[in-house]
Amino acid sequence: MKKRLYPLILLAVLAGFPLVVEDNYYQHLMILFLMWVVIGSAWNMIAGYTGQVSFGDAAFFGSGAYAAGLLAHHLHVSAWWGMAIGGLAALAVGFPFGWICFRLRGAYFALATLALNEVLRHGTTIAESFTRGMLGIMIMPTFVSKVPYYYIALGMAVVSVLSVRLLIRSKPGYYFVSIREDQDAAESLGIDTHFYKMLSLAFAAFWTGMAGSLYMNYMGFIDPHVVFSLHDISIMAILVGIVGGVGTVYGPTVGAFIMVAVQEMFRSGFFGLFKFLAETTGSESVRALADVLTKGHVLGFGLLVVLVILVLPNGIVGDWDKIKKKVFRIHSPA
């Protein structure tokens, strides 16, 4: 019974967060975290549950962001309308793609998603007259305060996690897992694997696109290299899924929190800890170390990928029992 309460407690904490912490910086980080919960959950649906690993989440994220941005730029309507069509735009990209590319399996499908993202990135860069190319699209954010964005992001995160939970405990959810475990066996049992893979992709594309249009509204600026980035979006989405736990409902939430924290930790030199140390001790070597750490945040990221895959292949939530045994020496009654 106690386990069921954890998500509710977490939700209560999150709902109260901006009322307690009024610092803009931490609110910003939390908005990013909630956005990654949405993207991570979406990735987890297509990759973790259905087994179709996508390396091109940025394609859907960018489609959503550009849908909102282009709408505001060309038609001069509020970019919030983009929230209504962002997810649908990503669906419009995902649908023909899935239709064609789901004949591919495993790593080949992953490569096709990679190619989709590359095509979109080059496409938006070249079509300057329509998308403004590398200049990017800039809009004025609606709110000065971060709190409205926070609650919108929180709402999206909650709905996306709940929808994962609902979907995964319904019939299609079981079909997804059966496709992951053995596609041929699933097919022979009469599951229309192509249809269900499309359904899973549609879910993932929709939520990733929604997160993209939120990003457009919140950040106010996008360009092809930001939203179609392999490292910053696609790989990050995979990491969020893997660190947290592939094929678990709350894994992406844990993963998103850890990844956003780690990313920020490296970027800011452990939240200015090293800078502070350097100033108090006046030591040159600590200052140099802080410098190296801040510059090497992508390197830290890469090392983290390698380490996580080696040590925790099923993520923190997925390998929780293993962690409990090894680190805390708690043996759960079998």
Binding site: G106, A107, H122, L299, L310
Partner: protein
């Protein structure tokens, strides 16, 4: 007409190098069944080895083949042995963990290099960098012709190695059917390690040959990884002959695209071919030649 011929020649020469990149990728693909997304990054490391040898010790880029290839062979062996092979045992939900691992390795390599050499574009200028000769009205770049020659030599050598030698046969056996190979007494673990090393050494060779005519910078890995997988898909996964065809096709298509559509379309051409092949010829050229 001259322009057209000139483009064909340029594309063909570039294609020779692409073939070398593709063969390394396809070998690894065939034996381990995974796509090595650190392929371009490994090539970038080889290019930096060559760059360092040239700028600090004055070694000719072609001579540094003898250093870069063994060095990268070792790097490949270490990666396979200590990072990729342990993943086979791990019980995971997703079999793509190895592919993700190569992504991580690629990131680490790029960032380590960026750390040491900064993001600047470096170039190696030799006496023959700009040298050309003419056949009729078509100009040939010496560096590219020599690179093409060496690439062809390595490709042919690789081919004979795979067909004639014992080790080559073991590699092909592992690629065809791992379990059967184990039953026949092939140490498949050792084979995967050697194959990864060989694949890396081949791409290192391509990288070194590219140094005199190209820039060296840390982010060059990504685009070349993309090219490598386009070549492998074009040629058919695991097919050596296919990789040669795929490499030359991509080289030609890029040259033609860059001239007749515009420079910015160079990368799009490759991706378009990639999608078209997936649509109309899944399985690549291997389907046509059966090799």
């Amino acid at each position: 007409m001259d322009v057209f011929l000139q483009i064909l020649v340029a594309g063909f020469l570039k294609g020779g190098l692409y073939a070398l990149i593709g063969i390394g990728m396809t070998l690894i693909m065939g034996v381990m069944g995974i796509i090595n997304l650190a392929h371009g990054q490994l090539m970038m490391v080889a290019m930096y080895v060559t760059f360092v040898l040239h700028s600090f010790f004055g070694v000719d880029p072609y001579l540094s083949l003898f250093v870069a290839m063994p060095a990268l062979f070792l790097l490949g062996v270490v990666i396979q042995k200590y990072l990729l092979n342990p993943l086979i045992k791990a019980e995971t939900i997703l079999p793509e963990n190895q592919v993700l691992m190569t992504v991580g390795i690629g990131m680490v390599l790029t960032e380590v290099i960026r750390f040491i050499f900064k993001s600047d574009y470096k170039s190696v200028t030799t006496s023959y960098t700009g040298a050309t000769f003419f056949l009729g009205s078509i100009s040939f770049s010496w560096a590219l012709v020599v690179a093409f020659g060496i690439a062809v030599a390595f490709t042919v050598a690789m081919f004979f190695f795979l067909i004639k030698t014992d080790l080559g046969r073991s590699i092909r056996a592992t690629a065809q059917d791992k379990d059967a190979a184990i039953l026949m007494g092939v140490n498949t673990r050792r084979i995967t390690v050697i194959t990864f090393g060989l694949g890396t050494a081949l791409v290192a060779c391509a990288g070194t040959l590219l140094v005199p005519v190209y820039y060296v910078f840390p982010d060059l890995g990504g685009p070349f990884t993309a090219k490598a997988f386009i070549i492998t898909i074009l040629g058919g996964l695991g097919s050596t002959v296919g990789a040669i065809f795929g490499g030359v096709t991509l080289g030609l298509a890029e040259s033609l695209g860059a001239t007749y559509l515009g420079m910015e379309y160079e990368d799009i051409v490759g991706l378009t071919i990639f999608v078209l092949v997936l649509l109309f010829l899944p399985g690549g050229f291997k389907r046509l030649t059966k090799v």
